[in-house]
């Protein structure tokens, strides 16, 4: 079962009680990935890769797991989910992140 299969009928309002899992449980993990919190954002972080020292602190502190840690430990903002809180900007020790208007 995919997250889409669980989420879509609800979003579209196309389901009956028979289609819902028992007892309001969600039988699979992380269906929230279908909920794109990026639309909440009014400002957004931009990473200056020239400055970034790959310390990973922005990755550590992002409340939304919206900073991706890549294989080489470089970081990348996931704008699908980034809510624009600016925590990453304040924790970056070398000011490699700046918040911009969207």
């Amino acid at each position: 079962m995919s997250a889409k299969k669980i989420v879509e009928p609800i979003v579209k309002g196309q389901f009956t009680y028979r289609d819902l899992p028992i007892g309001a449980m969600i039988p699979i993990p992380a269906t929230s990935l279908e909920y794109k919190t990026g639309v909440w954002r009014t400002r957004q972080p931009k990473i200056d890769y020239g400055r970034c020292i790959k310390c990973l602190l922005c990755w550590v502190f992002c409340p939304d797991a919206a900073i991706k840690r890549l294989d080489d430990d470089s970081v990348k903002v996931d704008y699908e989910y980034c809510k624009g809180c600016g925590v990453c900007e304040t924790v970056c020790p070398v000011k490699a992140i700046s918040m911009e208007e969207v």
Binding site: T16, Y17, L20, I22, G23, A24, I26, P27, I28
Partner: protein
């Protein structure tokens, strides 16, 4: 399946329930003591302490936690039992609803006792009635043997894939919990065949991680509640099948109710719990003198066995519904109100009256049972009752 002959023993209601739980392959028991349920949990803790029962026994620090522990344990896949009464059940109330709505199977024995205030430890059904609308299946025993048998049936029904609901087994405070009656137990082997270790439909499992107990917004909430409604009604359809299976190993056949000569009776008295026995004895006497009275003792109160009751009541000329509980400011006792609704929507015009009796354990003797039956006969003769509700024996 060959039934092994079992010896009759003499045993208290509480002990009989504990024995049934012990024979039911139970995994986790969590409870908090309250009179008159205490003997159930004391016996179970002894069984565990003596190695006769391989289960976790947890005495919680409150009934609220006891039921919460049971919810956690059942979600983890365990077969789970708890027991309470009165204030304890009231303290569980919030979680009673969570249990059924989250579709968590378990069995709870309720030693029906009045609800404070005034403080009183004796028999009344006023404790379970606030849980009437929760989606739990509620079964009532009329004697010790039934309390024992219904415990097995309750586990099987609760875990049935078409049901997945918690089930309560109600037994009257002291009248059943503490009186010694004859009991014919089933053998451990039969019990194990009837109730092999629980195989949950789903459970807490890291390899299949599910989220249990979600929040539902107005867009889905009603559909989840509709599922609960359907499941509760399905429990009524599954119940006779489970009871039939139990009859094959025990020789004892359970139905939605016990009835005594109700088929051709002019006047019928409907009741819950142990008073059925008293009324039956009184009815037998009256039948000997040719009076056409009948008695129905409801075994299954939730789901309400409407069709089966209507079938039995359709030719009656009068009906008295006896309630050992009351809805203050309402139209009567809960069983009476339910019955009125049933009669009305099935077009039965039988005159019906409510007798509220035995609150806080007030005695209801054989001669009083006879009087109530005669009152019902009088109603049948006259085609009506003068009152809707009477409080039996109250010094008014």
């Amino acid at each position: 399946m060959a039934r092994q002959a079992q010896e009759r023993i003499a045993i208290m209601g509480d002990e009989a329930v504990a024995l049934a739980v012990k024979q039911s392959n139970v995994d986790v028991i969590a409870a908090y003591p309250i009179t008159p349920q205490t003997i159930i949990v004391e016996r179970l803790s002894e069984y565990v302490a003596n190695g006769e029962l391989d289960a976790a026994f947890i005495q919680a620090e409150s009934e609220h936690s006891a039921l919460s522990i049971c919810v956690g344990a059942s979600l983890a896949g365990a077969r789970v039992f708890t027991s309470t009464a009165s204030q304890g059940l009231a303290l569980m109330h919030e979680i009673v609803y969570a249990t059924s709505s989250m579709r968590v199977p378990m069995v709870m024995a309720i030693a029906n006792r009045s609800l404070n205030a005034p403080l009183n430890i004796h028999c009344e059904h006023g404790d379970v009635m606030p849980e009437r609308d929760s989606g739990w299946v509620h079964l009532f025993a009329t004697n010790v043997q039934e309390a024992y048998d219904l415990t097995f049936i309750a586990f099987k029904l609760s875990e049935h894939s078409d049901v997945q609901l918690p089930v309560s087994v109600n037994l009257d405070a002291f009248i059943l919990t503490h009186s010694v009656e004859p009991l014919t137990p089933i053998s451990d082997d039969d019990a194990s065949r009837f109730l092999p270790p629980r195989q949950p439909l789903y459970s807490i499992d890291f390899d299949n991680p599910a989220t249990f107990g979600t929040m539902a917004l107005p867009d889905t909430y009603m559909e989840f509640k509709y599922q609960l409604k359907e499941a509760a009604e399905r429990a009524g359809q599954v119940y006779p099948k489970v009871a039939e299976e139990y009859a094959r190993i025990s020789g004892r056949r359970y139905w939605y109710f016990n009835s005594y000569m109700a088929d051709d009776a002019d006047a019928i008295v409907l009741v819950l719990g142990s008073t059925y026995g008293t009324l039956k004895a009184a009815a037998r006497r009256l039948r000997e003198s040719g009076l056409k009275v009948g008695v129905i003792g409801l075994t299954m109160f939730r789901p309400f066995p409407e069709n089966q009751l209507v079938e039995l009541l359709k030719n009656a000329k009068s009906l008295i519904v006896m309630d050992r509980a009351y809805s203050y400011g309402g139209l009567g006792g809960p069983l009476y109100m339910e019955t009125l609704a049933m009669l009305y929507r099935n077009g039965l015009r039988v005159p019906a009256m409510n007798v509220v009796y035995g609150l806080g354990g007030r005695d209801f003797r054989l001669d009083e049972a006879e009087s109530v039956l005669k009152m019902a006969l009088d109603g049948a003769r006259r085609g009506r009752f003068d009152e809707h509700v009477i409080w039996w024996g109250v010094r008014a």
